[in-house]
């Protein structure tokens, strides 16, 4: 039950030319579940380790409920981290593993037993207390690790790649368990992932990080519809990019005039880039569009079940478009079509 403020956090490692974590600030509201998203090596784990106190930041501050925790030793912070590979202590059974933090606090063994049982029930593993970590499946180990973290009543729960070691089927199950428990206990939670889909499915808000720099911190929807730059758009599966020159109330491009009803046009530089998600592009044999339409040619058609993907070329510009397979017009390879980029769906950003 904690509000978290990460302020201008910087961390350098010797042997690296850029900071591993470069001036990152994030504010997390009480009870929120947020994702740190970014490619491998962008500094996610380093941020978690600074929050737990396993690493000391070179600059910046970390506040829990407006109090700095930088001078508090790791074991007193009550910020619990669940590591990517679970790290259940191998020579302790499940009960001892889950009860570890209470034992460290010096709680009464009876109380510990009771709480351990409650926690195991919470993660839906009530009957495995006597087993050793080796005798558990990957999914079970993950849930025990979660129980071991939650029993401490952490002010902030950190999960490092919680789903990456599970197979696809277990991943769905675990994802639901994590969100339901997190909402039930109301614990503020931060998790790390390099999988944008996972971040979108789980998180209330996503912090996107490239090369140690925070790109954007916002709700998942925004990353699809209003990416902050090309790399952010690409990370979320963006494939269509059009270079633009800004004019008074329209944009010039290699395929012609483009108009948009975007609000923040004033912030755009004279050279900027438009993007549009494949599912928002419309195509038709006849010209039924008012504006932002262009003549193009279908280069390929890929049927993938519910959707069909078209590659279109307009004056050397390649675009991808994805339409629902049902009720589709009969459009084939090499066909000439009209392509529409709806002005409320197109998104223009600086690069």
């Amino acid at each position: 039950m904690t509000e978290v403020n990460i302020v201008n956090l910087i961390k350098n490692f010797s042997g690296m030319t850029r900071p591993a974590v470069d001036n990152i600030s994030i504010n997390i509201q009480n009870g929120e579940l947020i994702a740190l998203l970014g490619p491998s090596g962008c500094g996610k784990t380093t941020i978690l380790k600074m929050i737990t106190g396993l690493l000391t930041p070179d600059n910046g501050d970390i506040l829990l409920d407006n109090q700095s925790i930088l001078s508090v030793p790791t074991e007193k912070r009550n910020v619990v981290m669940v590591f990517q590979n679970y790290l259940l202590f191998p020579y302790m059974n499940v009960n001892e593993n889950v009860g570890f933090s209470l034992k460290m606090k010096g709680d009464d063994p009876k109380v510990i037993n009771k709480r351990v049982q409650e926690m195991l029930e919470l993660v839906k593993l009530p009957d495995i207390g006597e087993r050793r970590p080796k005798q558990l499946s990957g999914g079970q180990q993950q849930r025990v690790a979660l129980a071991r973290a939650l029993i401490a009543n952490p002010r902030l729960l950190l999960l490092d790649e919680p789903l990456s070691n599970l197979d696809a089927h277990l991943r769905d199950e675990m994802r639901e368990l994590i969100t339901s428990i997190q909402k039930k206990l109301g614990v503020t939670c931060m998790f790390v992932t390099h999988d944008q889909e996972e971040a979108v499915l789980l998180a209330d808000k996503i912090a996107l990080i490239f090369d140690g720099k925070l790109q954007n911190f916002a709700e998942p929807k925004e990353f699809y519809e209003k990416p902050i730059n090309v790399s952010a758009a690409k990370f979320f599966g963006g494939v269509n990019f059009i270079e633009l020159n800004k004019n008074t109330n329209y944009f010039d491009s290699s395929i012609g005039k483009i108009i948009s009803n975007q609000k923040n046009v004033d912030e755009l530089h004279s050279k900027c880039i438009a993007t549009i998600r494949p599912e928002n592009i419309k195509i038709s044999r006849e010209n039924i569009y008012q504006d932002n339409f262009f003549k193009g040619k279908i280069k390929s058609v890929i049927f993938s079940g519910t959707h069909t993907r078209y590659k279109i070329v307009i004056n050397n510009l390649n675009l991808e478009c994805s339409l629902q397979s049902l009720g589709i017009q009969n459009i084939n390879k090499e066909d000439e079509v009209f392509v529409n980029l709806p002005k409320d769906k197109i998104w223009i950003m600086n690069d």
Binding site: P73, R77, N78, M81, L87, F89, P90, F100, M104, R148
Partner: protein, 287 residues
């Protein structure tokens, strides 16, 4: 495989084993027979005389518990040497492990400048012969007053033992995942508890094996003890050497049996580890 070949194979293994234990057989025959004349293969009579002369077993007639205690209370040379060997071995092993642990952790887990050089400096004493440093050191120790002292002998034993302990523990830590410690810290364990609840159990199996073999290295040390001990510190290897040179086979054999007893015991308990699985069983391993 060809059946005959297989049989030959197995019989040659048995023959090899027999040849290998011949010295041990000879030790026992010699130690328990005082007059074993050529060309007897089996001595005519069993005799405890060697053990009696070493004052380890009382004369016939007084072989009661009290008799043994009385005899040992006179502090016979063998017992004195045994106690010296044990004490030096324990002290050196424990000291070297305490000193080596932090270094091995750092060497096993981190990469840093000069790491290769440091390891090279550490390994050299295990390859270069003791005679290369002990002659020079001896003169230094005489002027420092360490010569002939228990302290000096322990100090010089550290030279062959410390590198061995550092290297084996480094191997263990190279296979160890420090995230386990971090996990314990975030769950509220302080540094001290983390060490004995997490680190120690992980490295214990490998550490015990390293400790036992370190003890054996000290236990077998002749040259270093002889020179630095300057005749004032008597240990078992010194006793074996001097009796062997003076030539009474029965006495030599009896002392040798005492001398090799820990070696066999240690091999027995560690055979599982020395068969090459040690790095797998020590440290949790990076999952």
């Amino acid at each position: 495989m060809n059946q005959n070949l297989k049989k030959i194979n197995i019989y040659s293994i048995y023959l090899g084993a027999f040849i290998l234990v011949l010295p041990i057989i000879a030790f026992f025959i010699n130690a328990f027979s005082f007059r074993w004349f050529y060309p007897q293969l089996i001595p005519k009579e069993l005799s405890m005389q060697a053990w009696v002369r070493l004052k380890l077993i009382p004369r016939e007639g007084s072989r009661t518990l009290e008799g043994f205690l009385d005899l040992w209370a006179t502090n016979p040379t063998v017992i004195k040497a045994l106690i010296n060997s044990l004490t030096i071995g324990f002290v050196v092993t424990i000291v070297s492990i305490i000193i080596a642990l932090p270094a091995a952790r750092v060497l096993g887990l981190f990469n840093f400048k000069f790491k290769k050089l440091i390891i090279f400096l550490m390994v050299s004493p295990t390859i270069l012969p003791p005679i290369a440093f002990v002659l020079g050191l001896n003169i230094n120790f005489i002027s420092l007053g360490f010569s002939g002292s228990f302290f000096g002998v322990c100090l010089v034993h550290l030279v062959p033992i410390m590198p061995y302990v550092v290297l084996t523990l480094t191997g263990i830590f190279a296979n160890y995942n420090p995230d386990f410690e971090y996990q314990a810290r975030t769950l509220g364990a302080n540094k001290f508890k983390t060490f004995y609840l997490i680190t120690l159990p992980a490295i214990a199996p490998g550490m015990v094996v390293a400790a036992l073999f370190a003890f054996l290295v000290s236990w077998s040390q002749y040259l270093l003890t002889f020179l630095i001990g300057a005749g004032k510190i008597m240990t078992l290897p010194l006793l074996v050497f001097s009796t062997a040179s003076s030539g009474n086979p029965a006495l030599t054999a009896a002392i040798s049996i005492i001398f090799i007893f820990p070696a066999i015991l240690i091999l027995f308990f560690t055979s599982k580890f020395v068969s090459g699985e040690s790095s797998a069983t020590s440290g949790f391993g990076k999952i």
